[in-house]
């Protein structure tokens, strides 16, 4: 699996994502600057966590207009797999690649702690190595992770099996609608989630629940 990590000014999890990808896929991902106009030949693009453009205007709004995003949008239409983590999820909703929006956390606090998640959907390139209903623990680190979409959109996401991760009952850290932590795009080749799987890929970092996500991608895309 050939992969690329997009680097925006203000990204701060780009190297975490690169380390996880290199350890698990055995190949260094290409680090692609947001101002580049074309992606290298890759199977997976990761939009990392951080605060691209200092979250000016709205989180993800400026990054969504970056030059590289035009190429990513075009290639998503042709089936390119894209994983947006945290700020990357916000970028995906701002560009319209995923529905809904991520708003200020309901209690206004920045939340940084491990949370329990239920894997709800395993029919995807991102989660095929998990088992349905599996409880995993990923850290969250966000101030604007409160997933919002209108009721019709939420119903549709659920009906189409596009809610991939939900916060465990009673462990919703930000007020997200229907405890949604991660969703798939219409063609199931784009996924965004607020928690950080790349931070739990090494026992030295406190857990390995995130490895199955990258292993799923490696199996699906190699």
């Amino acid at each position: 699996m050939k992969s690329a990590v997009i680097v925006f000014p203000g990204s701060n999890c780009d190297r975490d994502a690169a380390v996880a990808l290199e350890q698990l896929a055995g190949k260094k991902p290409a680090m692609v600057w947001h101002g580049d106009s074309e992606l290298p030949d890759v199977d997976l693009v990761v939009l990392p966590g951080g605060f691209a453009y200092g979250d000016y205007l709205r989180c993800g709004a400026m990054a969504g207009q970056s030059r590289i995003m035009r190429d990513i949008k075009e290639k998503v239409g042709k089936g390119l797999a894209v994983l947006g983590i945290c700020n990357g999820f916000q970028v995906l909703t701002e560009t319209g690649l995923l529905p809904g929006a991520l708003m200020r956390n309901a209690d206004l606090k920045f939340v940084c702690r491990p949370v329990g998640l239920d894997v709800e959907e395993t029919q995807s390139s991102f989660t095929r190595k998990y088992s349905k209903g599996q409880r995993v623990t990923f850290p969250v680190a966000n101030g604007e992770g409160n997933y919002f979409a209108d009721e019709a959109t939420l119903d549709r996401l659920e009906a189409e099996g596009r809610v991939v991760f939900r916060y465990a009952e009673g462990d919703n850290p930000n007020g997200s609608a229907r405890n949604i932590a991660g969703i798939l795009g219409e063609k199931r080749n784009v996924m965004g989630l607020m928690p950080h799987p790349e931070r739990v890929c090494d026992p030295a970092l406190g857990g390995t629940d995130g490895t199955a996500l990258f292993e799923s991608l490696i199996e699906a895309l190699s």
Partner: protein
């Protein structure tokens, strides 16, 4: 020409910042305050002189960048 764009959350979208401002105002003794909603004001200078064209282009800017229409609404004010 100058323009002012108001971006606010749509009705029904939870506004925790507005709520916190309301609580703080109550704490200061402004007991008459009901619901508080907050938003953004963006001032722009435009070289366009035609009002209709300016308005159309501002609407395009709002749809593409200035507002996230999933959660926000906008109003445009021209200052000729």
């Amino acid at each position: 020409m100058k323009a002012r764009v108001f971006v606010t959350l749509k009705n029904g979208v939870l506004d925790p910042q507005g709520k916190a401002i309301g609580n703080a105002l109550h704490g200061l003794g402004f007991s008459s305050v009901g619901e508080v909603r907050q938003g953004k004001v963006i001032d722009l200078e435009l070289s366009e002189r035609d009002q209709a064209k300016a308005r159309a282009s501002l609407k395009d800017m709002c749809e593409k960048l200035l507002a996230n229409t999933v959660i926000e609404k906008y109003e445009i004010e021209l200052v000729p």
